[in-house]
């Protein structure tokens, strides 16, 4: 690119010496989500981790689509693009390919990302463009006031489904894995520490990071994830995936997941029938295992997996694109328009 851009990147090196605090990432805009919305926590955690990722804020872009979650970019003092419904992933792809050095984040929801924007999402994932996708899953359409979403449970009674919804829900983690994602994780709004750690992991991963965030819509779908967030129930309902560690859960760490063939099953560690050595050990780099773990999601007798399902390396699209550009320059020389116009078969009229 031209001198101007070089000049900008020089300045950005200076900028990176700045020490930020969470407050530096708060924009001057008034936050307008409903009081009690889970989005507040996600915004706060994002603002909290931003100073730690070591990227100057002028190098960060948040792109969103349409929906409650998609107002997110307005509240962060970085570059932001509030796009149109479902297309944030495509807009972000263009941003990242035009300027591969930027840290690009997509904020989307279960409707924006999986219904109207489902196509763009799966293609972003298979291309592995280095963009971090935060999919806020509240299992409802909030901004349009309460219709069922592609992740609502079957039979959901809403304004548009007074007799119950007929659609079987997407499992976002399985969908992402099916689309050949290289990083797939799940976290929730009410566990700030876990949420922060997953956001940092998403940033660190080179390639598309897909993070499903369970987010409570306290107006139209309150308590959808209560079981996974409340003290009384969460320990027995949630299992945290940790790389290299056996899959143990329960208030007293007395239960675990064992593989029976390809099927996971819950075993008790108390009754002497199974020990910790029998349990499945999580391996984030095992693609097959990631499918098995993600598939536990809608099984009522299974704890809900949270954490990183998969994290593998695959060349990023933007690096491959850059490599082809370099190759073409080597092979054909730096582009010269006047030369090209006069190339090939030409003739002169005197």
């Amino acid at each position: 690119m031209n001198n101007l851009i070089e000049n900008i990147s020089l300045q950005s090196q200076l900028g990176s010496k700045l020490k930020y605090t969470a407050k530096d990432f708060q924009s001057d805009q008034e936050v307008r989500w409903c009081p009690g919305c889970g989005d507040y926590s996600i915004l706060a955690q994002a603002q909290r981790i931003m100073p730690d990722i070591g990227i100057p804020k002028h190098q960060i872009v948040f792109v969103s689509g349409i929906g409650c979650s998609s107002r997110f970019p307005y509240y962060l003092d970085t570059y932001g693009f509030h796009g149109i419904h479902g297309r944030a992933t495509a807009i972000a792809s263009g941003v990242k390919l035009a300027q591969p050095d930027l840290s690009v984040w997509v904020v989307t929801g279960d409707g924006d990302g999986m219904s109207i924007g489902g196509n763009h999402l799966i293609h972003l994932l298979r291309r592995n463009i280095d963009v971090n996708v935060l999919l806020f899953n509240n299992q409802i359409y909030g901004l349009t006031k309460g219709q069922y979403s592609p992740t609502s449970e079957k039979g959901k009674i809403t304004k548009s489904t007074p007799y119950g919804s007929l659609d079987y829900p997407f499992n976002p983690a399985s969908l992402a894995l099916g689309a050949s994602a290289t990083f797939v994780a799940r976290t929730l709004d009410r566990d700030p520490k876990h949420l922060q750690s997953i956001l940092k992991r998403a940033h660190d991963h080179k390639g598309t990071s897909f993070v499903e965030i369970y987010q409570n819509c306290n107006v139209f779908n309150d308590g959808a994830f209560l079981q996974f967030t409340e003290k009384e129930t969460k320990d027995d309902s949630v299992i945290y995936l940790e790389h290299g560690k056996p899959l143990v859960f329960g208030k007293e760490k007395d239960k675990g997941i064992r593989l029976n063939g390809f099927s996971p099953e819950v075993v008790s560690l108390k009754e002497g029938k199974a020990s910790i050595n029998d349990l499945l050990v999580h391996n984030e780099t095992d693609t097959t295992l990631s499918f098995i773990l993600a598939d536990m999601t809608y099984h009522s007798h299974m704890p809900r997996p949270l954490g990183v399902f998969l994290s593998i390396e695959r060349p990023t699209y933007e690096n491959e694109m850059q490599r082809q550009i370099e190759f073409a320059k080597e092979k054909r020389g730096e582009g010269n328009m006047a030369k090209l116009l006069n190339s090939g078969e030409t003739w002169t009229i005197q």
Partner: protein, 614 residues
């Protein structure tokens, strides 16, 4: 062997026609390139079915390529052809109507067997009955001659069959006194790694030429002298190639990367193909998952400082509608090329039409003004897309560039422009954070600043929600909305101050002014020239700028008694002319998936002139 007569022609029109697998487009393209190198002026009309391999031997599978070339100025692919190469019965059936009375037919007799005749719907063989008695028919067993010339090579029958287009081409080169060298050179390069195919095609091409030379069948061959075009260096170029190069030239001039987000669609895909070659020009081509991702990725790339572009045709253009509104709202540069085709819906994918004008001008929700520019000839696509990029960057706006299937696939000689002398394109990236507001406007152009991610201190948010004037913050206040709607409209209107005035071809006043836009230029020009040659007071005004229009259009129109607006639609530009200038313009409309014949416009003008006489 008797000496053959060489007859000089001012111009000639020939048509290659065969099955869609017969390689007629390739034969036509090769004939075109050789003819261009010889210095003839020319215009081409490729005409092929939407199916890659339509049922063999049927009329729906016929693919044709017409080229009109001459030593005089050539503006159209020709109303009719003088020479028709028919590789089979169906090709004859479909194309006979375009042959002039007394014209010549070269018929591949092998393509007129019982099966072919039946598939084409002939009850008797037209080569044997009297139905072609008004034409001059040359029967040549091209298939058999091809097989014979390749006997020694021991090739698969499939490869042999695929070479017969080169026999026809070789014969036509002989008939029209063209050299074999350009095609020999092309074959040598194209099939450098496929010696079988290279050798086969070279042999067959030469066999076709030699057949012309030795057969008693042809007694006359034709010479068409080079055209007296303006001096300079020329090349042949198709509209789609010119479009691709125009985008590249604009990005190079602006010293920014070109980003093309595009989804394959006929007849626009060749622009994507062409641009994907030139990665060494920092061209980033992104074959998106759909039309919407094509345009939205381009908008994202523009946000990040590239020249974002997307190329498509009618149905894809419809899919991009919502994103066009977003581009209007976020005020980023974007070039959208619509290579129009027959519609609505999937319509006629491989045929031409001009029916997307009103959609380009108005087809969005809300008040969403977008500059619209249209190309007049294949090589003009370069100028028009370059101008689109210039306006997009200077005014921070999406620009719609209209071409069509006829322009995209058609080709003509092009006086190569001097790259250094192309108009300046200078993006002014904002770098100073002092007093920065995302929607503060340039006092003259009303463009907002281009503040790209990566620039320290300019962090800001944009989006599709209404903006507060200057600050760019979300704002729903009634007065602000009206102000912003008016500002966006005024910004586009002011482009009229930055474009050259319209020029009339012919007298500055008179009886009939033909007002055209887009690819009808050649046919209109020919029709107008014919009338002027007869002393009629007829002039031509061809519009490239459709929004905003040039400031002097109304004044020009007022100097003529009658305004005729020919269009390949049911009357779209005419609505605008009538509404803007309050004149009772007359329309001439055709929607047959084919360009106007000059003759059709000529006779309409005739009618109007007669109306003026007492």
């Amino acid at each position: 062997m008797r000496e053959k007569k060489l007859r000089n022609l001012d111009e000639a029109t020939i048509r290659f026609a065969g099955d869609s697998g017969d390689g007629m487009q390739l034969a036509g393209t090769q004939f075109t390139n050789t003819t261009a190198i010889l210095g003839n002026d020319l215009s081409t009309l490729p005409d092929y079915p939407a199916e890659i391999r339509a049922p063999q031997g049927t009329t729906s599978g016929v693919s044709g390529f017409q080229i009109h070339f001459g030593s005089t100025e050539i503006n159209t692919p020709g109303d009719s052809c003088d020479m028709l190469v028919a590789m089979n019965a169906a090709a004859l059936k479909v194309n006979l109507h375009s042959l002039i009375k007394g014209g010549s037919i070269i018929a591949n007799t092998d393509g007129f067997n019982d099966k072919n005749l039946k598939l084409a719907g002939y009850s008797s063989n037209p080569l044997k009955d009297e139905s072609l008695s008004t034409y001059q028919v040359f029967e040549v067993d091209i298939t058999k001659l091809t097989i014979t010339s390749l006997q020694e090579l021991n090739l698969s029958s499939k490869l042999v069959d695929r070479s017969k287009n080169f026999f026809a081409l070789g014969m036509m080169y002989w008939l029209y006194d063209r050299p074999l060298e350009p095609t020999l050179k092309w074959l040598t390069e194209k099939f450098a790694n496929k010696p079988d195919i290279r050798e086969a095609n070279i042999r067959v091409l030469k066999a076709g030429w030699n057949y012309g030379e030795t057969t008693e069948l042809f007694k006359v061959r034709y010479a068409v002298a080079p055209a007296r075009l303006a001096p300079g260096k020329y090349r042949n170029i198709t509209g789609n190639q010119a479009t691709a190069w125009g985008l590249m030239a604009a990005a190079q001039k602006a010293k920014i990367d070109l980003f093309l987000g595009s989804y394959p669609i006929t007849p626009a895909s060749d622009i994507l193909h062409e641009l994907s070659i030139y990665k060494n020009f920092d061209v980033k081509t992104f074959q998106a998952e759909d039309e919407i991702a094509g345009i939205t990725s381009a908008i994202g790339a523009s946000f990040a400082g590239a020249l974002g572009a997307t190329t498509t045709s009618g149905p894809g253009f419809s899919l991009k509608t919502e994103a066009l509104g977003l581009a209007v709202m976020v005020e980023l540069p974007l070039v959208v090329v619509n290579v129009q085709r027959g519609g609505p819906s999937t319509g006629l994918p491989t045929k031409t039409e001009q029916a997307d004008l009103l959609q380009a001008l108005y087809g969005r929700n809300g008040e969403a003004p977008i500059p619209v520019i249209a190309a007049a000839t294949p090589s003009d696509c370069f100028n028009v897309v370059y101008e689109s990029a210039r306006i997009a960057i200077k005014y921070m706006t999406p620009v719609i560039c209209l071409t069509d299937g006829y322009l995209g696939n058609g080709s003509e000689p092009w006086l190569i422009p001097d790259y250094e002398k192309l108009p300046d394109i200078s993006p002014h990236f904002r770098t100073n954070p002092e007093g920065f507001f995302p929607y503060e406007r340039d006092a003259v152009t009303l463009a907002r600043p281009w503040a790209i991610p990566g620039t320290p201190g300019l962090e800001h948010r944009i989006g599709g929600l209404e903006k507060q004037n200057i600050s760019g913050n979300i704002n729903y206040e009634p007065e602000n909305h009206e102000l912003m709607v008016r500002l966006r409209s005024e910004k586009v209107a002011r482009i009229a101050n930055d474009i050259p005035p319209a020029e009339v071809e012919g007298d500055q006043q008179g009886d009939v002014l033909v007002v055209g836009w887009g690819s009808t230029y050649g046919a209109i020009k020919t029709a107008v020239q014919r009338h002027r040659a007869k002393g009629h007071r007829v002039s031509l005004l061809h519009l490239r700028y459709l929004n905003p229009m040039q400031k002097n259009i109304g004044e020009i129109i007022s100097r003529f008694k009658t305004i005729l607006v020919p269009e390949l639609n049911l009357g779209q530009l005419i609505k605008i002319i009538r509404a803007n200038y309050l004149v009772p313009a007359v329309g001439l409309n055709k929607v047959q998936g084919a360009p106007f014949l000059a003759e059709e416009i000529e006779s309409k003008i005739d009618e109007l002139i007669k109306g003026h006489r007492p």
